[in-house]
Symmetry: C2
Subunit: 102 residues, 2 copies
Amino acid sequence: MDRIAKLSSQRAVVIFSKSSCSMCYAIKRLFYDQGVSPTIHELDEDSRGKEMEWALMKLGCSPTVPAVFIGGKFVGSANMVMTHQLNGSLKMMLKEAGALWL
Amino acid sequence: MDRIAKLSSQRAVVIFSKSSCSMCYAIKRLFYDQGVSPTIHELDEDSRGKEMEWALMKLGCSPTVPAVFIGGKFVGSANMVMTHQLNGSLKMMLKEAGALWL
Ligand SMILES: N[C@@H](CCC(=O)N[C@@H](CS)C(=O)NCC(=O)O)C(=O)O
Ligand SMILES: N[C@@H](CCC(=O)N[C@@H](CS)C(=O)NCC(=O)O)C(=O)O
Ligand code: FES
């Protein structure tokens, strides 16, 4: 099982990011503001970052970051997360994954 | 005169950007959608990119991109451009710089 598959299924919400990317920051904020603490992997600060970047591109994430997984399933990049947020389905996904209780 | 000062005063609208940055893309789109053709310098594709990045940081642009100049004056990064767009002052700045005629 490659590293992305392993890491993305370990927590309810996992985000692959780059530390200097402001779009990634905005998506992290979106989760924090809902009381959710996503697990963040900064590809540019991780010794296996390049390997993970390749794996994300093989998954079809191109450009690569932010790549958001909820409940082990790939949700998408910033556009997809915003779409789910705006139509209300993000909250449901977070509840199903056990990241939100209320 | 350093390279940033020289390049930013040559055209009505000048944007220092990075080709893989989606926030930079969004700001470029903002100008294109108003019929303005900004001059774009992609720091990651320019042989003097690192030198210009340092010069931008010395100007106080940190993080560095997008850095937007209108009429040779530094307007700011994405946040500042959006603020000017929302309060209507961006159009005035573009008209004053001769980038918009209507
Ligand atoms: N449309 C995508 C855009 C994603 C994007 O452009 N990501 C950029 C960083 S902001 C990227 O991965 N660039 C290539 C890289 O940094 O390696 C989204 O919805 O998030
Ligand atoms: N608050 C700034 C954010 C700018 C920002 O974070 N820029 C990032 C890229 S999206 C950057 O320059 N990071 C350092 C780098 O790429 O060298 C804005 O309004 O645009
Ligand atoms: S690198 Fe600029 S928004 Fe991602």
